[in-house]
Each structure stands twice: as C-alpha cells, then as structure tokens.
Amino acid sequence: MEWFDALVQGILLGGMYAQYALGMALMFGVMRIVNISHGDLVILLSLIGISMATAWGLGPLPVLIVLVPLAVLMGWVLQKAVLNKVVGSDPLPSLIATFGLSIALQNLMLQIWSANSRSLPGHGLESQSIEIGGIYIGLLPVIVLVVATALTWGLDLTLKRTRFGRALRAASADVEAAAMTGINPRAVYAMATAAAVGILGFAAVFQSLRSTVAPADGPAQLIYAFEAVIIGGMGAVWGAFLGSMVLGISQAIGFRIDPGFGVLAGHIVFLIVLATRPQGLFGKATT
C-alpha cells in the first residue's frame, strides 16, 4: 500500500514535470535549441505571480489568467531578441546565449525578490483532498495532472491537425525546404517558443502552489525537464509526457526509500535509460 501510494504520488509529480518538459521537447524538436534559462523562466513567472497575488489579493485562477499571456509574450520576445540570432546547426551560440541569460535572470531575481522561498497562497486549494478507493489524494496534484494531460493532448493535436502545426513540423524536418514552400521559419520559431514558454505559465502557477520557489531553483527544473525528455524519447510530445511520469515515479519511490535519495534516484534512472535505450523508452530507434 505504501508503495502504491508512492506510485500515485510519482504520477502526480510527473504531471508537474510534464509541464516543463513539453516546452523543451517542442523547442528542441523545431530549432535544435535547448534554452538553458527554461527553468529560470518558470521561477521568474512564479515570482511575478506570487507578487501579483500578494499585492492585489488575487486567487490562483486570476493569476493563471494573467500569467499565461505574459509567458507567451515573454517567449515571443525571447525568440525575437535572442534566439533568432543564434539558431543554426552549431549548438554553441544558443547554449552560451541562454546560459548567460540564465545567470543574469537568477541574479536579477535574487536582487528583486531576495533568496527567500515563497509560495502562492491557494486559499485552501492546496490542502483539499479527494478520496478514491481508500487513499486520499490531494486535489491540487490531480488538477496538475489533468492540466498536464490536457496540455499534452492539445499540443499533440495542434501539431497534427492545424496549419501552424504543419508549418512547425515542416520547419523541423527541413527548414530550407519549408521556406521554399512559403513558410517563414522565423515566424514559426517565434510561435513555437511563445507556446513553449506559455506552457511554463501554467507550470509556474502550479509549482508555486504545490511547493515553494526561490530564485536559485531554476537549474533543477531545467534538469528535470531535460531528463523527462530524454527518458521519454526525443521529439515526441507524448514521449515527453510519459518520460515525466517515469521520472516522477522514480523520484517518489526514491524519496520513500530515503529522503536524500529521491532526486538522485531520478538521475540514476535517467543514466540507466541513456545507457540501455539512448533513443528513450518510447522513442523510435533511428538509423
């Protein structure tokens, strides 16, 4: 029963990680770019949300409604001002640029919000629970999982069915061929990054509701997103979702064994997957 509980907790934790991993998988799939400031953006959005909530007494839902468009805008600006200049076959410029951005963001947040941990007041939401078959599950983690599933499903459908999705897939398959058919890669990239960071708007609200955030927390979130993407299999949207579940379950079981072992257990599962199935658990083998 205790282990079943860890499994449930792990799946719910995975819902959180899926919200980070989706954006990373999307950006890497389209541009072959990893945004090192990915985790720092989550923290920045969280801190903005917390400050809004305390200043104006907003509940979680209004914060979410403000934060997601703000995140979309941030992503669009990030692409226009930084990433469009460094996208290309050489991974170095984009890594260095976003690395510098990450350092600057972390320390800027440290100055504005100090090193203290804060969280978003949930007005009772964070302590409510529902009973399913004899175990009590927190209402908030269930909402997180449902939102994560909906986001994954929505992103997958967008990629498969819409005009934007087709343009995006074309640009990721062969950017020059896509440009010849009338797709503007820069516009597609801007929308992809806007979507990726937009999803982080959801992640920011839930992260600051379910635990605390501090300016230095970003790199850890980046690493979890990365591990989820690699465990699941690169590129695929549902791969990132399932990878997040595997990572969440590994960490939850690790925490149950020993509190100092939780995060390490996730890393170890990641390394085992990398050693035995480098294309990811759910990815198709190339070559």
Partner: protein, 341 residues
Amino acid sequence: MSAIPYPAAEVPEVQVQRQTPSGRIAMTLAVFALVAIAAMPWWASTGTIRSILVLCCYIAVAQMWNLLAGYAGLVSVGQQAFMGAAGYALFVLAQTYGINPFVAVFLSLLVPAALAVPIYFLLHRLDGPYFSIGTWVVAEVFRLAASNLPIVNAGAGMSLRVMKDYSSFERNVAMSLLCAGMLLVTLGGSYWLLRSRFGLALIAMRDNPVAAASQGVNVAKLRFLIYIASAVGCGLAGAIYFMAQLRITPGSAFDPMWANVAIFIVMVGGIGSIEGVLIGSLIYFIADRWFGEYGASYFVVLGLMTLLVALYARTGIWGLVSKRWDAPWFPIRRKLVDQNR
C-alpha cells in the same frame, strides 16, 4: 594508362615558418612568468600566492573548456564534476589513507581519468545541446553521491588536516611549483598539441567536423581523447584548488560556478585561442576582485556580457584584436616562405 610523371624540379624551395616575432616575445615572457610563479615563495606574500593560485586555476579550467568547446565541439557545463572528484580523491588519499598530499595530488588524477571514460560513452549519444545538459546532470549526480557517501564524510565535507605537518614556507613552495606545473601542462600542453599533427586535425575539426572526417581525421576518437584530457586537466586544477582551500564539501566541490567562470572567460576572451583564455582570465580575475562585493548585480552584468558576446561578438576580444593586428602570441599556423624571393 601510365601515371603522369610529376616534374620534381618544379617543386619550389620553400621553408615552413612556424614562429613569428610576436610569438618569440610572448614565449620569452611566458617562460619568465612561469619561473616567477614557481619562485613565488621568495618574492610574494602568502596572500598573493593564494590569489595567483586562484588565477592559475581559472586559466587551467578555462583552457580545458576551450579545448572541449572551441576545438572538439563538446560544450560541457559540468567540468566541475572532475574538479570535485579529483579534489575529493586528494582528501581521501591524504587524510584518510595518510599518503603524502603532494604525491596524492598526482594520484588523485586517476579518478577523473577513470570516471571520464564511462561518462563520455554515456553522454556522447546525446545530441548537441542535450550533451551539455547531460554533463550538468553528471556533476549533480556526483554532488548528490558525495552528499550520501560515508567515505567522504557525506554532506559535512572533509578537512585536509595533514597539511599542518608542513611549515607555511614548505606549503608555499609546493603550491607555487604546482601552479607553475599546472600552467605548463594545461597551457603548454595545449600549445604543443595544437602545433602537432593532432593540432591540424583539431583545427580542421573545429572549422567543420564533417569535412575533417572526410579528410581522414578520426573525429570520434579525437573527441574522446580531448574529453579525457580535459577531465584530467580540470581534475588537476580541482586538486590544487581544494588543497589550498584545505576544506571540501559537496556544494563547493561540484559548484556550477566553475562552469560560469570557464564559459565567461573563454567567450569574452575569445574562443578557440590560447590568447583569449589568458585575456579572459585576467579580466575575470580583476573584475572579481573589484566588483565581487556587489554580489548579485555583478553576476547580472557577467551573464548579460556572456549573452551579448554570444549574440554579437562570437570571437571575443582576441577575435577583434587579431582581426586588426596579426601578431599571435602563440602562433600555431604554418606559413610557407619562399627563400628565393
């Protein structure tokens, strides 16, 4: 079909020129600097020696990162893994097993070398930017493992108490010699490597790995060797740095700050050149002394500068300088000179 005979007489009599006047001056200065560093106990205070030691560690770590990112195309943000591993190895060998610490410095280099092999085989499967974050995960795994391992005193860290068996002067002599040796191995070794046949292959690989491979360069093997060499170089810097600190904890040993330092130095100084590493190290060292007290705002500026260099001036300061004046300090080019003219 017979082969067309190549008229041997038409091969012009040329000489390969490899050294330049600027290079000779720089080489002389470099030798003087090395001797001065080795002789520090006789002219510098203990405080100065400590500062120079930190500067030497910056130079060594940055040059190792430069070899990785600037030539092998492997952008690592986790070289602190090897610094910490060698540092811990030194503490365990010297403190727990009672081996002479100045011998243990060299023995401890076996640990990063041995760890780098499996790590490279795991991580090289990751594509471009994912490789970088993979190296970071490895450094985190090392940090968490060190926080849980009883042999390294877990999260509490270790102290190098055996160092008090040596007088302050003896320690200063050892530190100075180690610094000079570290610079000789990391900078001198890189220079030697770049001037050798491997250097040609490395430069070809830096410019275009696919084209280099088509010319017979074994890109995969070279990358592997550079990764191991860089791990050992960073290990040496880590062992010397923590020997001077006398104390090591999981947080300090595997501090991502070292990745920031290496990236800032190499990108601002100029990637793919030894000159850039020296310029960048001096800038960072001076900036750290002058502005370090401003804490977070100092790092905001540092981060923004890295960002701006990546966006607008990818060759760094040395790239701008060498475009203007052709006077390399460490020339690695081969220039053909016709003696008859």
